[in-house]
């Protein structure tokens, strides 16, 4: 069975005038179906840039990526790869009720009624009434659950979690991570989990890689993160 995601010699640089700042330096790794792969490292090491390149928000400047056996060439939206961001408040339209935001995405992915949203709300232990609220009326934990819900509407095979709980307290973090663990088997989804919390990484991921200065190292080589 081919790997879900294969990255070979992946490079990315931010252009600053005539200067190119190389952020990802020849990264190579594979992910299997339904796997939780962790990427850990200090701030500024390139973790979020890697997430954006894999998620198609940035175009790699070198190397190759294959997803489910097909080559990924363009930064065009990839239905099979979805992303949950660090700050849920900034990822929802503040003037639109959450139900309207979610229905828009559901429609985009071919769900004509609310059944899919209601099913996911139940899986995430949330009540229907949150759909009538504005983002400012919910807590960070509730909004992050809805971010997960929104990304699962596309029925992805890979979900990129870019520090999804770093702005949340430990009890909300535990609750969201437990929900993600349950959803992984229900929706047969793999997670690329980015975090700088070693204790959380060891709890949640199947294996993890350490990133430093744009390069990946095996977890055996990890010192303190």
């Amino acid at each position: 069975m081919p790997p879900l995601l294969t990255c070979r010699d992946l490079r990315f640089s931010y252009q600053n005038g005539k200067m190119a700042n190389l952020v990802l330096k020849d990264l190579s790794f594979e992910m299997a179906n339904n796997e939780i792969l962790g990427i850990m490292g200090p701030s500024g090491c390139g973790k979020s840039t890697l997430a954006k390149v894999v998620g198609g928000l940035l175009m790699q400047t070198g190397g190759t990526m294959e997803f489910m056996g097909s080559s990924l060439h363009s930064p065009a939206p990839r239905r099979g790869i979805q992303m949950v961001f660090q700050n849920p408040q900034a990822s929802f339209n503040p003037r639109r009720r959450l139900g309207a935001s979610l229905r828009r995405v559901a429609k985009l992915y071919g769900h004509s009624d609310d059944d899919e949203i209601m099913g996911l709300l139940k899986d995430l232990c949330m009540q229907e009434e949150v759909l009538e609220r504005l983002p400012s009326q919910l807590s960070g934990g509730q909004l992050q659950r809805l971010s997960v819900l929104r990304s699962l509407l596309a029925r992805p095979s890979l979900l990129i979690l870019d520090e999804p709980t770093s702005a949340l307290d430990i009890s909300t973090q535990a609750s969201i991570i437990k929900s993600l663990e349950a959803l992984r088997s229900t929706y047969d989804v793999a997670y690329l989990f980015i975090s700088h919390d070693k204790a959380l990484m060891e709890r949640f991921s199947d294996r993890y890689l350490y990133m430093r200065n744009g390069m990946l190292h095996d977890d055996d080589a990890i010192g303190t993160c």
Binding site: P42, S171, D197, R203, T224, C225
Partner: protein, 309 residues
């Protein structure tokens, strides 16, 4: 510095709704560091902002604060502004957002030194550079001339601490000082706060959910749930033997412990459950818990707000 807060309550009026964000909050800090921990939205930052007198006008604040024998009214319009910065100062959550993006770091420190007024810039510049060097910057002149966005997360946190402590306050309130920082930067920030506590700042109120910060920096801890302190005591005692069911569940949710999620959801502050606010999620809730609000009980230095204690 001896600081005590007595019966602080804060209610926000939002449209027709009234949200009680803090209720009957009392504690005292005597030349030590007290940590205020709890879930997001439980009212920790509201307590800090009430103590600084910086809540918006739709907040109805009741209660008093005592600073070394000086009684301060915390209600809107009666807050003694002269204590701000000199007696008590606030290190804001998210330092990048708390700084003016169009002002250089040095100007922030000078503004804090002069309480918003222009002063002797040459002398102030010298003081500001000394502050930046003391906090560990190798090139203070470069930091002095930098804009906030030009600094990394750890550097901006250190610069913000320089601004907060520019007037050498006796007490510092640090609101989530390690939030969203990576482990190395968080460790540096904790070391910086420990250093400040040993040299100059006598008392601290640390708002956090970073338990390693609490263990390293604080002597006492108060646990908040739905706007009320539910347990308070020495850090080691509370962490090793929590008495309130919420404290127990909260501590067990840490990845280094059981990593178990608390059942149910945090209630909305608009519609707080009757009786003990924690009873719908509590594993040992009984009859009085659903109807009567528990009072704080004290035994051998431990304060617990639970009917079962």
């Amino acid at each position: 510095m001896n600081c005590s807060v007595d019966a602080l309550s804060v209610t926000f009026s939002i449209g027709s709704a009234r949200v009680k964000a803090a209720s009957d909050v009392s504690f005292s800090i005597k030349d030590e560091a007290l940590a205020l921990v709890g879930e997001t939205g439980c009212g920790k930052s509201v307590v800090a902002h009430a103590m600084m007198g910086v809540l918006p006008s739709n907040a109805e604040v009741r209660g008093t604060m005592d600073l070394d024998g000086t009684r301060c009214e915390l209600s809107y319009g009666r807050y003694p502004r002269h204590v701000r910065g000199r007696s008590i100062s606030l290190l804001m959550q998210n330092p990048l957002l708390s700084m003016d993006p169009l002002m250089k770091v040095g100007d922030h420190i000078i503004e804090a030194l002069n309480r918003g007024q222009r002063g002797d810039t040459k002398k102030d510049r010298k003081v500001a550079l000394e502050e930046l060097a003391e906090i560990g910057f190798e090139d203070p002149k470069k930091i002095y001339s930098s804009y906030p966005h030009e600094l990394s997360g750890g550097m901006i946190q250190r610069a913000a601490l320089c601004v907060a402590t520019a007037q050498s306050p006796d007490m510092l309130i640090a609101d989530e000082p390690t939030k969203s920082l990576d482990a190395k930067t968080a460790q540096d920030t904790i070391a910086m706060l420990v250093n400040r506590k040993q040299h100059g700042i006598r008392s601290m109120l640390v708002i956090t959910h970073d338990l390693s910060l609490v263990e390293t920096l604080c002597e006492k801890v108060a646990v908040m749930y739905c706007g009320k302190i539910v347990e308070m005591g020495d850090v080691r005692d509370v962490f090793e033997d929590p008495h309130h069911p919420y404290t127990r569940d909260f501590l067990h949710s840490h990845p280094l412990k059981e990593f178990s999620a608390i059942p149910g959801m945090t209630p909305s502050m608009v519609d707080v459950p009757k009786g003990c606010a924690y009873h719908p999620r509590c594993r040992i809730a009984d009859m009085p818990c659903t109807t009567d609000s528990p009072q704080m009980k004290e035994r051998t230095g431990r304060h617990v707000r639970c009917h079962r204690y």
